[in-house]
Symmetry: C2
């Protein structure tokens, strides 16, 4: 916790609980040695891994398969200057195991833009960090306080 800068760190369990409430996050990676970022829908696996589903031949898959990436979610209320953000950092890899693919095709994320050949990408939750902006806590009320203390 950093009581003086208006932010509070969130624990891993709280981070994953908040992430599960939003359907879209942003994958952060490197493309041609430049920082790149793209919003995508996702699902969380039971262990906190982030699951994406995208076209097998996409530039995104080529860029992230085997690389360490960050996946960011947030929910910020600008009017109240309050909210939270969570980042999962870890290695991304296309799921190749047939049984695992089968499981994810039943339980994993649905592609918003159906492709002829799509794949699942799994981002290992090696590092899960989050923070809540509590500068506006008295305005934001009980919900954010609960999120921070929870």
């Amino acid at each position: 916790m950093y009581p003086n800068d208006g932010f509070r760190e969130l624990g891993r369990t709280e981070c994953l609980r908040l992430m599960a409430e939003v359907p879209v996050g942003r994958i952060v990676y490197t493309r041609r040695a430049m920082p790149a970022v793209l919003p995508v829908n996702f699902a969380l696996d039971g262990d906190g891994a982030v699951l994406l589903r995208t076209a097998a031949d996409s530039a995104l898959v080529r860029a992230i398969d085997g690389a360490v990436v960050a996946f960011e979610t947030d929910d910020v209320d600008a009017a109240r200057r309050a909210g939270w953000s969570v980042v999962v950092t870890g290695r991304a890899a296309v799921v190749t195991d047939p049984a695992e693919r089968e499981r994810l095709s039943r339980t994993g994320p649905v592609s918003w833009v159906p492709a002829r050949h799509d794949v699942f990408v799994r981002i290992e939750p090696e590092l899960v960090t989050g923070r809540a902006l509590v500068g506006g806590r008295t305005l934001y009320g009980v919900d954010l306080a609960a999120a921070v203390e929870g």
Copy 2:
């Protein structure tokens, strides 16, 4: 434009117009050789540069001053599977010119978490890219169509 993948590229003018509608974006940078991302409020300068205001002694400033970063904004309606995202990529630098600091203290972004010594950071709009998800276009209706064609 990629009519077959459900996305459409947006032009620079349209990108900047959309960005101006949202108060918060995400700065994407490298920290200890790892991808890092943080949501922050921002303002756009007249030339499309992204302006941030943050504590002079923050870890963020140390990480991005002089570095090429990406700054992402989006507005995605998950229920309709439609929306847009815009990324500005360019060099970030703390504004040191006194006259420019004076101008930005009047017209630039306001810090949500006031610091004793804050600085303005300017991200040059060297590359401005955006795309709209138009797979849900008929559901999303006129607004997104206007954004795409505008």
